[in-house]
Amino acid sequence: MTELLVGTKKGLFVLDGQPDAEFEVQARAFAGEPVEYAMRDPRTGRLLAAVTSPFYGPKIWYADDPLGEWEQAGGVALPEAQDAALERIWVIVAGEGDGMLYAGGDPGVLFESRDGGATWELNRALWEHPTRPTWSPGGGGLCLHSIVPWPGDPDRLALGISAAGVWLTEDGGRTWRQGNRGLVARYLPEEAREGSASLCVHRLQRAPLRPERMFMQFHGGVYRSDDAGETWAEIGAGLPSDFGFPMVIDPADPDSAYVIPLTADTDRVTPGGRVGVYETRDAGESWTARGDGLPQEDAYLTILRHALDRRGEGPALELYFGTTTGEVFGSGDAGASWFTAATHLPPVYSVRSDVAG
């Protein structure tokens, strides 16, 4: 049985089912509230949800049972009496240390929890980084949306911030430096690109079997790094469009990545009315459409940054993605064939398929 945590514009939906047929809604929480992201800590089974009430602001909540009482986590706020307020929590990720969790948010902030998500603390080194005044927000805000731990090493972490590029630490977040060499901001005039900090990273992933290998969906461009995010090489040739948001990898294969191209930044729907998940198994040398069973006619769908996830690995890799028109599609065979897991949900912001601990 696979569990999907689907964050939507109108609440969290917990679905479960087998990876070849429609899933059932087992629970709904935060009815009416935007749930940007929800995940289950695979070590403890605890659920964590990022909810931005339009009235009361962004909060992180946690629970062991989605139908039970959710507790508000403490410390999810910026320092008081400064010039900024927390706008949104974009992502929550389990870290490598005991009980360690990270949360990323707008305006380009990282929170750390050492107690499984009950309390959080702002990472001051990133908050007070001297380059911060030069950071510029993307269309969705100054969002820290990708947090990529290094398997087995709690000191090493990579972050993706739109539009402030890639940030790397090797000392557990005490110091941060940029990892942007090779990224080309085609949305800037040519003469403004060199050295610009306005780098609109859309999604970052790391290959766990070869942690120095990373993949990135950029705002126009798909990239690979073989040196832990120091330098990047473009690998988007062969895709119908190199614009998109979500990206996952098969953890069993360091040469693998999956993306869902959208037409362009000015037309953020599936190109040509055809829904396609594209796979590489040669580190970006070539891409193959994996769309059997997905809508191929007059289907102009939008798939947001965190609305694609995977479960398992290798030939049994399961893939799931949700759309802003409330559908969830799934594959139980690494993308070879697809089924409709859910329809008629509110606009889908995120999909997670963590395995309960």
């Binding site: 009235f55 009361y56 602001g57 909060k59 706020a77 910026l78 320092p79 009496a81 307020a85 927390l86």
Partner: protein, 86 residues
Amino acid sequence: MALVRLRGPLKKLAGERADHPLEGGTVVELLHELEQAHPAVGGWILDERGFIRRHINVFVNGDCGREDTPVSAEDQVDVLPAISGG
């Protein structure tokens, strides 16, 4: 003392009580007093900058108020979500 009146989740966070007599000369002073008395309300009405959240409305004796709106004893301050959404 002015009377701060809450409803919905704010009432629940403030000890399941709607009415809160509080000392303060402005709306924001009252709201800080409320947060002192009920820390769970922290971050729900005022953001980190001390601003009333964009989609929260505050009325002083029925008139729309902001952070620096003066209040005095006998005033009634209603805090409620705006009629916004989508």
